[in-house]
Symmetry: C2
Subunit: 410 residues, 2 copies
């Protein structure tokens, strides 16, 4: 009987695993709760109205249409039954597997303060991005209608919590929107007076980078107009603003980029997890004691491997290879991470890059980031449209996706 491989999640890890099984003598079933694979490195562009949602999302079943051994199901997985080798869906259906790849990724982590989620959305899904886009655009709309100066100032204050890559991207782009995109469009205030504050609990932004690059990133943020608050711990978030201990910032728009934790699916594997809920996998990416179950992407914990797209892709590909080896009765091979470097963008002509020993910042880093992202979007047919959108945005400072859906304005 043809072995059944079930892949949970179709982010970079899951999709690369599925494609790695192209041509394999296996029945591959890919299950995702959305119909699209998402190019998450550009999600902040959707959130900040620079790109339309379809520009960074492709239908999974279209991507895998020509892979005859792959079936795609839109479904929510509720749990994994590792004893019976079955996956349980939300409607009670069970899907049996011979091999399982868990690529369920991460969700926002409010570190026990889940009540903050309403007031400070994180950026993990397209829905999150459109929610954040609506909040940002509507804040300026409210400011235009507000007559009280203090209340207007609160509508024009944007706090981004968390100084990692996502926080830096959001804060830098927000500052650009206020200073470059919107001026001239409002009659009752000057958008350039909007405040963008990036709050980081640690002592520098972009902690995975070297201290010199963190410092360069901080300076670039401040040049763009972002106030960077370091070593400030958030103690409260509500509809009116953010508390940093005794300090209080009145802000109607607060965005959460302070951390993620693993998908709860990791827990149903019945093995030890780290504090963030990640699964400590064997060198071949399998789960301890379950050689038929592999964990890839952000859900997998391997020392020295960062939670970024290239790592997830490499793990997905390796899991596929190991499944094929196992089917063929051969030994699986350990995963080896190839570090191509890390890039973080901050804004127009502003970025940092750590490419092995080569450290870049400013325009050279930004150009590297731009070219890398256009290159990696090549699997999407959207690259041309994205390039046009970007070229247009670069020259005009405009952002073409400034659309709020009405139900989001409520």
């Amino acid at each position: 009987m043809t072995p059944r491989v079930v892949i949970l999640g179709c982010g970079f890890g899951g999709l690369w695993a599925a494609q790695g099984l192209r041509g394999a003598r296996a029945e591959v079933t890919v299950i995702d709760r959305t119909n699209h694979h998402l190019f998450t490195p550009l999600l902040y562009q959707v959130a900040t109205a620079g790109l339309a949602a379809p520009a960074i999302a492709g239908p999974i079943r279209h991507i895998l249409a020509k892979q005859q051994n792959a079936t795609v199901l839109l479904a929510e997985v509720q749990q994994i039954d590792v004893q019976k080798k079955q996956v349980c869906l939300e409607d009670g259906a069970r899907i049996g597997y011979d091999y399982l790849v868990v690529a369920a990724g991460t969700v926002n982590n409010y570190f026990g303060n889940d009540a903050w989620a309403r007031f400070a959305p994180g950026l993990k899904t397209l829905e999150d991005a459109l929610d954040i886009r609506a909040r940002i655009l509507l804040a300026f709309e409210h400011a235009e209608r507000e007559t009280d100066a203090a209340r207007r100032a609160a509508w024009l204050t944007f706090v981004v919590i968390g100084g990692g890559a996502t926080g830096v991207e959001l804060a830098g782009t927000l500052a650009e929107i206020a200073r470059r995109t919107l001026p001239g469009e409002f009659r009752h205030f000057d958008p350039r007076n909007a405040r963008v504050i990036l709050v980081e609990a640690g002592e520098r932004v972009l902690p995975p980078y070297t201290p010199d690059l963190s410092e360069k990133a901080r300076r670039q943020l401040e040049r763009l107009g972002v106030a960077v608050f370091l070593q400030k711990k958030v103690t409260g978030v509500d509809a009116e603003g953010v508390s940093l201990g005794a300090e209080r910032i009145a802000a109607r728009t607060v965005l959460w980029a302070a951390g993620v934790k693993s998908s709860p699916l990791g827990a149903s594997l019945g093995v030890a997890l780290d504090r963030a809920g990640r699964v400590r996998v064997e060198p071949d990416l399998s789960v301890p004691g379950r050689p038929e179950v592999f964990v890839v992407g952000d859900l997998a914990l391997i020392e020295g491997v960062p939670g970024i797209a290239p790592a997830a892709k490499q793990m997905g590909r390796q899991a596929a290879k190991n499944i094929m080896k196992s089917i063929a009765g051969k030994e699986t091979l350990p995963f080896r991470y190839r570090d191509y470097g890390q890039l973080a963008t901050i804004g127009r002509n502003a970025a940092v890059a750590m490419l092995g020993k080569l450290h870049l910042s400013g325009y050279p880093a930004w150009l590297t980031w731009l070219l890398a992202h256009i290159y990696f979007l090549i699997n999407f047919r959207n690259r041309l449209v994205v390039m046009i959108d970007w070229a247009w945005a670069y020259w005009t400072f405009q952002r073409h996706a400034r659309i709020v859906l009405r139900e989001r304005s409520k």
Copy 2:
């Protein structure tokens, strides 16, 4: 004191009125409940996953940014107080006017069967379009998971109610999606077996056109794979399908294109309305007895003027001119509709056009439609992106906006 002109609604009528007052000695306030002007003739393309929402929507305040006498407010108007010359917003605020342009347009009309709205959404707003897109795409996803043949067939049956321009566009495009876009992407059924049924109560589709063009449209629809049911009256719509008297169609996706009625704002003008809620205006587009209040677009009833975008634009422009004349103490002028013809698209290379005495169908009509729409999109910066999307869709049969947001799948 500078006269205050308030414009309600920023569709074609409202936007053209606002732009017609560029340079006028007047304070213009444009109020819309969305932040965007919508290029409605292409809304069906968003609903059928051919275009992303931002491709056909532009932020109103960006469009009017350089018009110094114009202020844009995002707000919901609750009613018009014609006695006090005030507009009442949803938050209780009141905005006084010296001149008012009501361009509030239409809403879906279920002819007293409002309970059908849940099961058969209409296509008036971007939210509607994204709702319809999700229903269409999810129907195929459900079919892939469904094992019962009859239930799967119901997921693969699409009923479009109403044979006007919107119904014809939706039905033709749906047939193309089933026959050309999706084949090869599903493992448990062939999308080409999906049924698309267009139901029209009258004796022909596209009633505003001549009978020969209606007949040509019907034949083109059938060639694309649409079953056209004429002289069938819908007597029931529910979650499982549509009733046509004794006849029953099991269909999980039903779309409403059978009619519109005027925005309820027309009623607050306190003048006589026709059955569809439209305001019978004076020849200069003002409301009888209220020379300072103008009604333009679909909300205005003038014999011989169709409810299409070019007519709304012309009325908006004329209302602006008449307001300027009135401010200058001159006589207002009657509105004269210039008929440039009508175009309806059906699908790839399929359309009908009525351009004065010139009647076109098939490829020549479709090319005319394409060029006209690209030309009229020129006011949007999106035309290049739209053209690329279309060129790509034409050659590949693919549709790039096949994205379902999760909250819509519930």
